[in-house]
């Protein structure tokens, strides 16, 4: 079974997808990172990209955000084609698309507050007072109001990632991209980041999340896309992917992560991590 079985109903609210990838191809020398990948993201949807490391998920996000040029196909964002090679077009896209990186990539020479205001003040030309107001609201939202004057190095990984989320939100993006946002975190701080992300999803934020947190994908994702070797091997609602998949490769990938179908799923429901960190 391959991409042929993608005909599932999705909530698109009757409007065109906010992000449409059409047959995109991305190569690095001899390596093909993405091979004929097509994917739609609708407004208000949380799309989770899962699959083995090196299967092209992160590359897809970087392409969507015009950080990489394409070797084939095209990307439409809010109905307009993204041209990564054209700085103006790339900037127009990035201003409307927030991105959260695996390694946070906060600006270490700036305070937390300045990390969040620098985008709005330099790119959107927002006046500093308004930008600071916006930043403080966002800091409250990610529960870090007391860290406004701290420098990133003084924060834990989970705190840094929450600041990075606030920094992206400060641009008031139409779409948020998360590139393995919890992969570089200590286990005990993963939950606080996922909690923030779940809250965003609950507010209706449109999100594309590359993740290895299967529990998050299952609970928060509206649509799950499984990658392998630069291709989409299956996509569908969480129930299909995690409970009733008939694609052998999907099942194999999930079992490598310790995911063994429905029975384990029930056990996971009562695992402490769910109750304390995600459902908090």
């Amino acid at each position: 079974m391959t991409a042929g079985q993608t005909k599932h109903r999705r909530v698109s609210h009757g409007s065109a997808p906010i992000l449409a990838l059409e047959h995109i191809v991305k190569r690095y020398g001899a390596l093909t990172a993405l091979e004929d990948v097509s994917l739609n993201v609708n407004r208000g949807e949380v799309v989770c990209l899962i699959g083995p490391s090196g299967s092209g998920k992160s590359t897809l996000l970087r392409c969507a955000n015009a950080l990489e040029t394409l070797d084939g196909g095209r990307i439409l964002f809010e109905g307009r084609e993204v041209h990564a090679g054209d700085p103006k077009s790339a900037r127009a896209v990035r201003q409307r698309m927030g991105m959260v990186f695996q390694n946070f990539e906060l600006f270490p020479h700036l305070t937390v507050l300045r990390n969040i205001t620098i985008g709005p003040t330099t790119v959107l030309r927002l006046d500093p007072a308004a930008a600071e107001q916006r930043a403080r609201t966002l800091l409250a939202k990610v529960d870090l109001s007391d860290k406004a004057t701290a420098y990133p190095a003084a924060l834990s990984g989970g705190q840094q990632q929450r600041v990075a989320i606030a920094r992206a939100l400060a641009m008031e993006p139409a779409l948020m991209l998360f590139d393995e946002p919890t992969s570089a975190l200590d286990p005990e701080t993963v939950g606080e980041v996922l909690t923030v992300m779940k809250a965003l999803a609950d507010e209706g934020t449109t999100m594309v999340v590359v993740t290895h947190e299967m529990d998050f994908a299952r609970r928060v994702g509206d649509w799950i896309v499984v990658f392998d070797k630069g291709r989409i091997i299956e996509e569908g609602p969480p129930k299909q992917i995690f409970e009733t998949t008939t694609v052998a490769r999907t099942r194999e990938f999930l079992s490598h992560l310790g995911w063994h179908g429905e029975s384990t799923l029930e056990a996971a429901d009562v695992a402490p991590l769910d109750k304390e960190d995600i459902a908090r």
Binding site: M97, M99, F101, E105, P108, I118, T122, P152, A168
Partner: protein, 219 residues
């Protein structure tokens, strides 16, 4: 040994003027060599090959030849063969600025390329232009990172200004050597000269150490 330190006290105003000239030369040179070094560094990082190559040629020439030769060349060769006669002071400044700009450009370039690509992507991801990322994100971190190397160049410059005495620019070296010739008090004059250089140079080195501790970017 029969020492007579009065030669030092009697000539204090001249030592003072020489020291002022040394400080002035250093400050003016560095004030020009910082932008000069940045321009050369940006040129070397340029994607336009001819721009990068010409900056490389300039830098490698001035780094690999002695400053004293550069000063002689500007002072004696330019007028003889190219009909360009610069004053002693201008010669001194031009020679020093070309030389120090070259060293600065290497320092700045090393700092800039040491900032990881993720910082560029983070800046671009919030919609910044590459120029904004460079000026607001990369350069501030790069400059703090290379401050110790930059300080080494500064202290070298401070001492290397002594080379301009060969074309009669009245810096501390020139004045000291002149007093020595007039008075024949070699030990006293050269000791005073060393003491004055040290008293000026040492606090600078300490100041930079302090700046680096104070403003280091933690990561």
């Amino acid at each position: 040994m029969n020492l007579d330190w009065s030669v030092v006290w009697d000539n204090l105003p001249r030592f003072w003027d020489g020291a002022l000239m040394t400080v002035w030369l250093s400050v003016v040179t560095m004030a020009l060599a910082i932008p000069g070094g940045l321009v050369l560094a940006f040129m070397r990082l340029s994607k336009v090959r001819v721009v990068a190559k010409s900056a490389t040629a300039f830098v490698e020439f001035f780094r690999a030849t002695p400053l004293i030769l550069q000063i002689y060349w500007i002072y004696y060769v330019l007028p003889a063969y190219f009909d360009v006669q610069l004053s002693q002071m201008t010669t001194a400044i031009v020679g020093l600025v070309c030389n120090i700009s070259s060293f600065n450009s290497e320092t700045f370039r090393a700092g800039i390329v040491s900032i990881r690509l993720g910082q560029w992507n983070a800046g671009r991801a919030i919609g910044m232009t590459d120029r904004q990322v460079m000026v607001r994100i990369v350069l501030p971190q790069a400059l703090m990172r290379v401050l110790p190397a930059f300080a080494t160049t500064w202290v070298s410059l401070f001492k290397d200004t002594s080379l301009v005495s060969i074309i009669s620019v009245a810096d501390l070296s020139y004045v000291s050597l002149k007093i020595r010739t007039e008075s024949f008090r070699i030990f006293e004059v050269l000791t005073a000269m060393a003491a004055i250089y040290w008293m000026m140079g040492y606090p600078q080195a300490k100041l930079v150490d302090w700046l680096h501790r104070r403003y280091r970017v933690a990561e």
